[in-house]
Subunit: 340 residues, 2 copies
């Protein structure tokens, strides 16, 4: 039978009240007595029954998710997943509030986080914008003891407790590796379509991609990066333009958004189909995979990221350890033949 507070009280020869004081680090216990109780806790291997504790406290974890009001498929999907979690949250003693902010806007994010500082929720998750002022407010949140998880885009070397997202350097390396293999040793020119080099995840993907190409596939030349601002129209124009000027382009790595434009540009262009590797499995990339326009899609599962963020926030709020292996977000690789 699992030991309870009563067993500890008996074993330590103290009253229930004292055990409670020790357990919840309330004042009014002498050092010796505290030691006695702590010894009994270790001795009996007591672990607090969280369910009972939460019941007694009438506790509900209240979390805040700060999400950019982005209109690309991935962010829409992410929103959806968070809303799904909100719907399930009442059953899990959790209340999740969503705050929408303009995308790529450090000030807006900081303002939202200031707000969090006032509300003092049990935890906060946000998609980091890599800026010093964001780091600063993160530090203040940490001082206030509010658990923090970055989602999708990280804020390294900051006070965040956890990052729920993929390793973008590894993703870029994987893309590079696949590109190299798919092009199978031929001399080739490869174009890279990004959203913006101001965004950390895009920078990191490019970094990983370039590293692998330079290390292992010196026969491949990477053209200057096209910054399509995740905009399908702009992306289409840029890709079409590139294909016109470099009809020998044998591969395209699309590491950001705007894939609809990319796909259209390739379909319209009068060239041999290049090897195309893109990110995020959406309706358009999925059908492009099926049609053979895209050869591989690297994906991060927004649902996993959201659920992982919530699990981690809960654990942090309870001071519990996190199962690292469970929370590592994977880079899914989809080919035509393993679409789910």
């Amino acid at each position: 039978m699992k030991p309870t507070v009563h067993d500890i009280a008996k074993s330590a020869g103290v009253s229930l009240a004292t055990v409670d004081r020790v357990l919840n680090s309330r004042p009014g216990v002498r050092g010796v007595t505290r030691a006695k109780v702590e010894e009994a806790i270790v001795e009996l291997g007591y672990v607090r029954d969280l369910a009972a504790a939460n019941l007694a406290k009438g506790r509900t974890y209240s979390f805040i998710f700060i999400l950019p009001e982005n209109d690309n498929s991935f962010m829409i999907g992410l929103h959806e997943e968070v809303r799904g979690a909100v719907a399930r949250s009442s059953a899990e003693r959790t209340r999740i509030r969503i705050i929408d902010v303009p995308p790529f806007d450090p000030e807006a994010l900081v303002a939202a986080l200031e707000n969090v500082l006032v509300e003092k929720p049990a935890g906060v998750a946000f998609i980091a914008v890599d800026a010093p002022e964001v780091r600063a407010i993160a530090e203040r949140l940490r001082e206030a003891g509010i658990p923090m998880v970055t989602l999708v885009s990280d804020l390294p070397d900051s006070s965040r407790d956890h990052y729920a997202g993929i390793d973008n350097i590894a993703a870029g390396r994987t893309a590079g590796s696949l590109m190299g293999r798919f092009l199978s040793g031929r001399d080739a020119t490869v174009a890279v379509l990004a959203g913006s080099m101001l965004v950390r995840d895009h920078r990191e993907r490019l970094e990983g991609f370039s590293a692998v190409i330079n290390e292992h596939y010196s026969n491949i030349v990477i053209l200057p990066v096209l910054e399509g601002r995740d905009d399908p129209v702009l992306a289409e124009r840029m890709v079409a333009d590139t294909l016109r000027r470099h009809p020998d382009v044998a591969g395209i790595y699309s590491l950001g958004g705007g894939n609809r434009g990319l796909i259209r540009a390739i379909q319209k262009a009068d060239v041999k189909r290049p090897v195309v590797i893109a990110h995020e499995l959406t309706g358009s990339t999925r059908s492009a995979l099926g049609d053979g326009v895209i050869d591989a899609v690297l994906n991060q599962d927004a649902g996993h990221e959201v659920r992982s963020a919530i699990r981690v926030l809960k654990a942090k709020a309870d001071g519990l350890p996190v199962i690292a292996a469970q929370e590592r977000i994977r880079i899914d690789i989809f080919l035509k033949d393993n679409l789910p």
Copy 2:
């Protein structure tokens, strides 16, 4: 505020006892009254507080995991993961017992399941052996109302509630697709190393692999399957033999165990390195990936499978729905450049 049983009683104009009778389908409630209560439940959107209910019941979920006493790395890892879950289980109101059985032995599995039928745990997970007698006992377990999850290897068209494992046909297709791309259109001969064609997952992987090769890569010839019985020594001999007799082998798909033998055979052979795709990320496949002996590893995460199985068993035991997207076990694709 979340509605409680008290709110329902008040709203339906009945006593707490009656609400309790309805909720726990105890006898002694007239149809009209029951309807009134049920209406109030829907109206207020009442959901039973599982934590409080379990506390009141003093309930602990007791699950049984039936695992084969296999000595390959994957099964050893799986065992480890289950033991990890056992260690954490006390904190989660869960008690997990492991029953070891000889591998690939339908009778032993049936005997273990008979035992389960007697013990009546809250759920059981097992690695299916695809045999009629296993289906029969599964049916009896279902009749006894014991939730059942198959792990790693499925028992399709049976009474199991859920399968916690990868889609092996899709895995085979993925391997076929990668093989085709990596061989990049050349005429080529490919060897396949399996454990045993008697095991369902191996059959399915081969099926998927062959299908993609035949559909899309008609320039590739697949040699007759080598059945290495997941034994490194036997596998090494068979692969070495094949490489001697077919020096033109350009690719090898290893869809089962015995990869240590495969790796040794390739390293010793005096041929051009073939494209090698293998399953399960273990110490040896990992270093072979690093050394360039293996080109891609398809992996299923045993930890995910075990945790998913437990989550599903818990949900089934509570009659709760399962988040399908969360429980889909992914096929991880590892290349040299995205090793975790």
